[in-house]
């Protein structure tokens, strides 16, 4: 009876919510959307082929919990579901992806998160769902966690030490690397320099490996981008005072529809499905930034480019050149649209001070880091101030007023961009703003304008929705690669409703398939997260 909805996050993550209770569906849908707005979305690497199943139920008993776990449930939640729990799920999914990515490097497919909720006896009979007593929920969760912890050590390359690469930790790491010299760096040296008790050489080595992979991938992408960019008009790049809002869709024309060699291409593929006109979607939108000198930069938005923006394929990079005459990095403000990786913001931030990347692929790299930007090199340090979703590190000493002046422009530009971009950027912006040096008053302003954008996005929704791959065979990878392959067919019979947000279409379906054997690392608490080092940002890059 319930309808089918699928939630597709901009980076290709799909959430399938299945429930037979329409009230719950509505609530959950709203919660998911809210999570997106809040920008805590994780940066999922599209390069892994796995699904995560979360089972939610109204009550539970141990036996059923176990049953659910055996059938591949990655987690289970009790109804009513809290936002916090939802966020945890994403974190878990992310972590899981991280974990598997290491092993499955090179595979590309869609990441899918599926949340199955059971309210129906019939469903339970299919052995899919667990029920947990509300009273004992806590215990169940712990049991489940322990259970999965034991079961699902994938034997990944990571050591048993549970290292969580928080922002701070990573910052130390990067500092150490830079200090040593990127070419001469070795895990031992880094470890010594970092001077973090409890950190092992293996942790560092593994982290270093990912770091290197990430960098090399960045470079590669940057080259591609440069090539593409060369064809575009970069008239403003000479103007150091500009805040350049660049929306550059990766022009990997051939790649988009085919395989998924890179996470970014995967996104590309998706965006291709949405909008065939990717080629001409490169957008350079410099924003007006009143700098300290009072020179304002004219902003030009190329209307043609903007309108042809693809909802998902966009890469948004906001470069802001130093405002003052000295072009000090302190004035640098970079808006990273990638911010989905901010699910656990403190943990998902990687800094590469040595490699100033100003651009970030919105979807491709899932990196919150600026990409190599040969045109506008910027000193690192200020790019990564607070590890927020958006590295719009407003480290500018300029007063908040300047920032607020910029913001509306940014937002205004974003309005004309694809919804997906808007959404992500907007979220990032708002998220970041709250942590930037901008005063709270400005934040308020931002939020209001952010919210204003929501409606602006709606007009784009139809396009996205119409083109959204609603359970096509391509999207079979929405569903766990096991038995759920048949799910799309079933679901296609259901009414699909896109709701609101461009990239969020909720599929609600009360027909549930067997979930087989997904044993996943599952952690209730990010703190307890494991041997897996978290590189939300890296994912798209390193493990594409």
């Amino acid at each position: 009876m319930a309808l089918a909805d699928a939630t597709a996050f901009p980076y290709g993550l799909r959430v399938l919510v299945v429930d037979d209770d329409p009230t719950w569906l509505k609530i959950l849908e709203k919660m998911l959307r809210k999570c997106s707005y809040q920008g805590w979305n994780l940066c999922f690497p599209l390069s892994t082929n796995c699904s995560v199943f979360t089972v939610m139920s109204i009550d539970g008993e141990t036996s059923r919990v176990m049953k659910g776990v055996q059938h591949g449930a990655c987690d289970y939640l009790l109804k009513p579901v809290r936002m916090k729990e939802l966020r945890n799920i994403w974190q878990h999914v992310y972590r899981k992806k991280m974990h598997e990515v290491k092993e499955i490097e090179g595979n590309d497919s869609c990441d899918d998160l599926q949340m199955f909720r059971n309210g129906c006896e019939g469903l339970e009979e299919r052995g899919l769902f667990m029920r947990a007593d509300s009273d004992t929920m806590r215990k169940r969760k712990d049991v489940d966690k322990d259970h999965t912890d034991q079961d699902s050590s994938d034997g990944a390359t990571v050591k048993k030490a549970r290292v969580v690469w928080s922002v701070d930790l990573h910052q130390k790491f990067v500092n150490a690397v830079n200090q040593i010299g990127f070419d001469k760096v070795g895990p031992k040296k880094i470890l010594d320099l970092m001077n973090v008790p409890g950190l092992t050489r293996e942790n560092v080595a593994s982290h270093l490996q990912k770091y290197r992979l990430y960098l090399s991938r960045l470079q590669k992408q940057n080259e591609e981008r440069i090539l593409g960019a060369a064809r575009q008009d970069f008239g403003h790049k000479g103007t150091s005072d500009n805040l350049n809002l660049r929306s550059s869709f990766q022009e990997q024309s051939g790649n988009g529809t085919t395989g998924f060699q890179h996470g970014s291409q995967k996104i590309q593929a998706q965006s291709n499905m949405l909008d065939p006109h990717l080629e001409d979607t490169k957008i350079v939108v410099p924003l007006k930034v009143p700098d300290k000198n009072g020179t304002s930069v004219s902003d030009v938005i190329d209307p043609q480019n903007v309108t042809s923006a693809s909802p998902l394929g966009g890469v948004l990079s906001f470069d802001r050149m130093p405002v003052n005459q000295d072009r000090k990095p302190s004035e640098t403000m970079i808006l990273e649209c990638q911010s989905w990786s901010g699910s656990v913001p403190p943990k998902q931030f990687m800094q590469y001070p040595k490699h100033n990347r100003e651009r970030c692929d919105l979807l491709g790299d899932y990196s919150c880091l600026p990409k190599p930007d040969l045109e506008h090199p910027i000193t690192p340090s200020h790019l990564y101030a607070p590890p927020q979703l958006v590295s719009m590190s407003c480290s500018m000493e300029g007063d908040a007023r300047d920032f607020s002046d910029v913001k509306p422009d940014v937002l205004g530009c974003m309005k004309s961009l694809s919804p997906a971009l808007m959404c992500t950027v907007v979220d990032s912006v708002s998220a970041q703003l709250s942590d930037s040096v901008v005063t709270s008053t400005n934040s308020d302003q931002k939020f209001s304008s952010v919210e204003g954008l929501s409606s602006a996005k709606d007009c784009h929704i139809d396009q996205a929705r119409n083109q959204a791959p609603l359970l096509t065979s391509e999207d079979a990878n929405i569903i766990c690669g096991t038995d759920l392959a048949c799910l799309p067919d079933d679901l296609s019979g259901y009414q699909l409703q896109g709701i609101g947000w461009n990239s969020i279409d909720l599929f609600q379906c009360n027909d549930v398939m067997m979930l087989n054997g997904l044993q996943n690392n599952w952690y209730d608490d990010p703190e307890l997260s494991s041997e897996i080092m978290e590189f939300p940002l890296l994912d798209g890059c390193l493990f594409a």
């Binding site: 209770d21 609530i27 809210k34 809290r82 919210e451």
Partner: protein
Amino acid sequence: MDYSNLRRQAASMKKSLFDQGYLDEQFCQVEDLQDEASPNFAEEVITLFFKDSARLISNIEQALEKYPKDFNKWDAYMQQLKGSCSSIGASRMKSECMSFREFCGQGNVEGCMKSFQKVKREHGVLRQKLEAYFQLLRQAGPAGAATRPGM
């Protein structure tokens, strides 16, 4: 019209619903989801709930009649209703659902019947109260309204 007064009334109505155990924290969660994008979200959810729960109740009623002593089936249906109650924090109603299920577990037909009547009663009472609450809210106007032309 004194909107702030209306809002106050609504707030105190809500408080009493909580105090009397009709609603629990989940209701707040639902209200919290409301925002500018969906300014009537809470009311929509509640409306949806009552529509759906009416259907579920009727299912149970039929099952009690058509499948005498089929405790498993009764339990299954009630399970659905209970889940639905938890979605909006209908606490009293949920308790009655649970006690119904207990009676099912015991195989107590009489108990089930009585309990089911209570479920229906709680359902009706809650619906009345929440309708009144939302009506008051509607009259009180959007939270942000400072002043309004007199009505």
